[in-house]
């Protein structure tokens, strides 16, 4: 699967709910952030967890989130980063 995002791109984590294994933490669902790093593509852990092959590999990104965006109140000079797979991200204009 091709990497569609680049560093500096504004993205939003999908607000989806899943009952199965997932590496997108709840506290980041629906939150807006910026791509800071582009890692390679990796097998999808949501599939690997059930003994499936995890294909297609999903590009992985480090996303930076502002504290205020995540927790709804301002906190000086604090950001949170998390590594999120491409299929959990949408472009945010």
């Amino acid at each position: 699967m091709k990497a569609v995002f680049s560093p500096g791109d504004k993205v939003k984590v999908r607000a989806a709910e899943v009952a199965t294994h997932c590496r997108t933490p709840h506290y980041l669902r629906g939150k807006r952030g910026v791509v800071t790093r582009v890692f390679g593509a990796y097998p999808n852990p949501e599939q690997l967890a059930y003994h499936r092959l995890g294909v297609p590999y999903q590009p992985l990104y480090q996303i930076e989130f502002d504290y205020q965006e995540v927790w709804g109140r301002s906190e000086h000079a604090t950001v949170i980063t998390a590594d999120i797979f491409q299929h959990w991200l949408e472009r945010d204009r």
């Binding site: 933490p25 852990p45 992985l60 000086h76 000079a77 590594d83 999120i84």
Partner: protein, 220 residues
């Protein structure tokens, strides 16, 4: 405050080898101990693995300690070109310098603390940690309290470790949610510029490579 300051690479004072297990299944329910034994015996009987395989795996795991990370940090402080390579692509730089095999282990990124920016690493979902270099994570890193709170109140959590950052410093809480593992390259403490690389290795603590502690120059 942990004994981390006095023994950079080990968790405890005392004469015993801090890597040697203290006692059998301390604090573990009898059912758990029995289950471990049942599974181990059955899997060995079925040739899924051997007792030797287990022994070798234990030795391999025990061979990875914070001291390995400390050597990498000290070298990066002393050699700006190595530091640049380390920050660009951590795994080959670490493998090449330490002579350890990181093949088949998760990807690694080294993040640099600066006077303006301080990183602290966590895994809110489980306990992802750069084990292949630093060894087993401390119990607190795996605790629900650390995992729940460090992304929401990092400065309060750092204060519990006795760490207070100047006001203007940006904190970056790094949640290891996927295949990437992180090691912090701590800021070299002021006043240590004339120390040798070997002396610098002794300054670097496990907690500073996670980011819950900052390093200070040794008192004379």
């Amino acid at each position: 405050m942990s004994a981390d300051h006095h023994h950079p690479h080990h968790g405890h004072d005392g004469g015993h080898d801090p890597h040697a297990p203290v006692n059998e299944a301390h604090g573990v329910a009898p059912e758990s101990a029995l289950l471990e034994r049942a599974l181990r015996e059955l899997l060995i009987e079925k040739n899924v693995f051997s007792a030797d395989d287990l022994r070798r795996q234990i030795e391999l795991t025990e061979s990875r300690t914070p001291e390995l990370g400390a050597k990498v940090v000290a070298h990066a402080w002393c050699d700006p070109q190595y530091k640049a390579r380390l920050l660009a692509e951590a795994k080959p730089a670490i493998e090449g310098f330490l002579g350890i095999d990181l093949n088949l282990t998760p990807e690694l990124t080294v993040v640099e603390n600066t006077p303006a920016r301080h990183h602290v690493i966590c895994c809110t979902l489980c306990s992802c940690y750069p084990r292949a270099v630093l060894g087993i994570p401390p119990a607190w890193y795996k605790s629900p309290e650390y995992r729940a709170r460090v992304v929401r109140e990092p400065r309060a959590v750092l204060a519990e470790f006795g760490t207070r950052l100047p006001d203007g410093v940006e904190i970056r809480v790094v949640d290891s949610t996927a295949d990437m593992r992180y090691i912090v390259l701590p800021l070299q403490p002021a006043g240590t510029e004339r120390l040798s690389e070997k002396e610098l290795v002794n300054l670097v603590t496990r907690d500073s490579m996670i980011g819950v502690s900052v390093l200070s120059a040794p008192r004379r």
